[in-house]
Point group: C2
Chain length 300, copies 2
């Protein structure tokens, strides 16, 4: 089952304690799409400027990602982000953000994209996310991501969006910010009571938690010693999760849990190099081998 | 198989964002012993002053904890600790520490205790921990805990101790401090290379990681929404783990992993009330029921 994603495409500059890269391929919709592409065809909607290197589009196309919804706007510049990771590789400082053309992003879905059944609203303004929902006609399973900026500055719009989606994915500090609750178990359920049928709280190197009316669970991150660049970990997590669900064409509880595990594993590959470097080198078999190790790890 | 523990017995004063308790039963060896007592008989070695409420000793005796090694020193005062938890319930500030009689703790093991096969050196000076090892004659499985104070101030003594024990249990910030390594997977293995056959890194609300030459794994904490007082969580974790191993009289890899899961579950009960409040209300059956839920949670 194809999977629609709407979100940012960017050129990132990333500094870690041991290395530095400039203008590498990034953006929430890029990490998401690439991660999901191991499981299902992806339809990407975003916008870039004419500084956008065409080979990046080719890279996505090679993995069965439909880029016909990627607008290249003449005379505009692509979204750029520059960040620096702390020695713990979990905390980071944003040094520069230039939204550029993404600041005016007003997605218009290609006709065929509107009939998508599986939809992911990558991190973006809840106003823009709602505009996507206004355009889709056959949605069966809609999940959104969000961030502190929207929780703070577009609270009402975000709360309205939460009543229209099946699932919300957000990180631990964002869940605390949205609810004012420090206990993540309580925070997860409180977010769920705001509208979505389920909530996933991402905890970075500590894994992810799942909350539905009848289930609460946590799965640990896959322990990797090769943490080179955590950028896009959360987006690739969501991509692995949604990609597997779309592939299965099913979002029953048992499939959701397995999907979350796939998300965790794809994210564990993603952090092992800058940009899509590590993910470009793996295939589905390698994900399955890590899945076997992961399941063995959790068996006692 | 009986289990020997040598460590602190204290009177704690604890402040959380919502409640406050003064002079309640605490100390690393107390939390450890009580947690281990669900699985195996425990022999406790420690020292208190004559301000020590006798009913605390009775409470321990009721759970098959042999307190004949608990010295009550006349004219001395019991170790007291006062701490305050931050709203996140993970970080805490120590407001007061009065080592009192524990500052002169020089454990002399009762004759029968010296033949113990399973031994836990609860958090304490590595000099004192080494003195315990000097007295035991039939040790088969020895595990120690440590803390930032000893890593900083008795580094050489600690490094010497690490070569004499089977396992070390320490928390994530301590593992980083001991190795200078921020990646916990790398830090865990670096600690292991300092001597112990295995290392467990405790991550508080995020669970625990295990490292041996051939295994690396992480188990998440059991998600509880009733976090009342985290004091003693790490000690009750170690108690559950060592208690199960002593009960099984076996420390094969498969038993060690199951033991770590028991440690996580006993700790999840421990944080649900002040002092031993919650643990006093449970029995082995309740631990087994939570174990079933925990295993189900990790199955997909």
């Amino acid at each position: 089952m194809p999977l629609l994603v709407v979100g940012s495409v960017a050129l990132d500059s990333v500094e870690t304690p041991t290395a530095k890269r400039d203008d590498i391929l990034g953006g929430s919709a890029v990490f998401f799409s690439y991660a999901a592409s191991y499981f299902t065809p992806v339809k990407l909607v975003s916008v870039v400027g004419d500084d956008w290197p065409h080979e990046h589009t080719e890279l996505l196309k090679e993995r069965n990602i439909d880029t016909s919804g990627l607008e290249v706007r003449p005379g505009a510049e692509t979204f750029r982000w520059r960040g620096k990771y702390q020695p713990n590789m979990n905390d980071r400082d944003t040094l520069e953000v230039h939204l550029n053309v993404f600041g005016e992003f007003d997605p218009v879905l290609p006709e065929e994209f509107r009939r998508s059944k599986f939809i992911f609203l990558a991190n973006g303004s809840p106003v823009v996310q709602a505009k996507v929902l206004d355009q889709v006609t056959d949605a069966q399973f809609t999940v959104a991501d969000t961030m502190d900026l929207w929780i703070r500055e577009q609270t009402d719009e975000l709360l309205a969006l939460l009543k229209r989606i099946d699932g919300l994915v957000l990180n631990d500090s964002e869940a605390k910010l949205l609810t004012g609750e420090e206990n993540l178990v309580l925070a997860g359920h409180q977010v769920r009571e705001m509208g979505p049928r389920f909530v996933v709280i991402k905890k970075g190197e500590h894994g992810a938690m799942f909350f539905s009316q009848h289930e609460t669970y946590v799965l640990p991150a896959y322990p990797t010693e090769d943490v080179i660049d955590p950028t896009g970990a959360g987006d690739s997590f969501a991509g692995g999760m949604m990609g597997f669900l779309a592939e299965q064409d099913n979002f029953e509880p048992v499939t959701l849990k397995r999907a979350m595990a796939y998300g965790i594993l794809v994210a564990s590959f993603n952090v092992e190099d800058f940009s899509l470097g590590r993910m470009q080198k793996i295939d589905r078999d390698e994900i399955e081998r890590r899945m076997e190790q992961y399941q063995k790890m959790l068996l006692f």
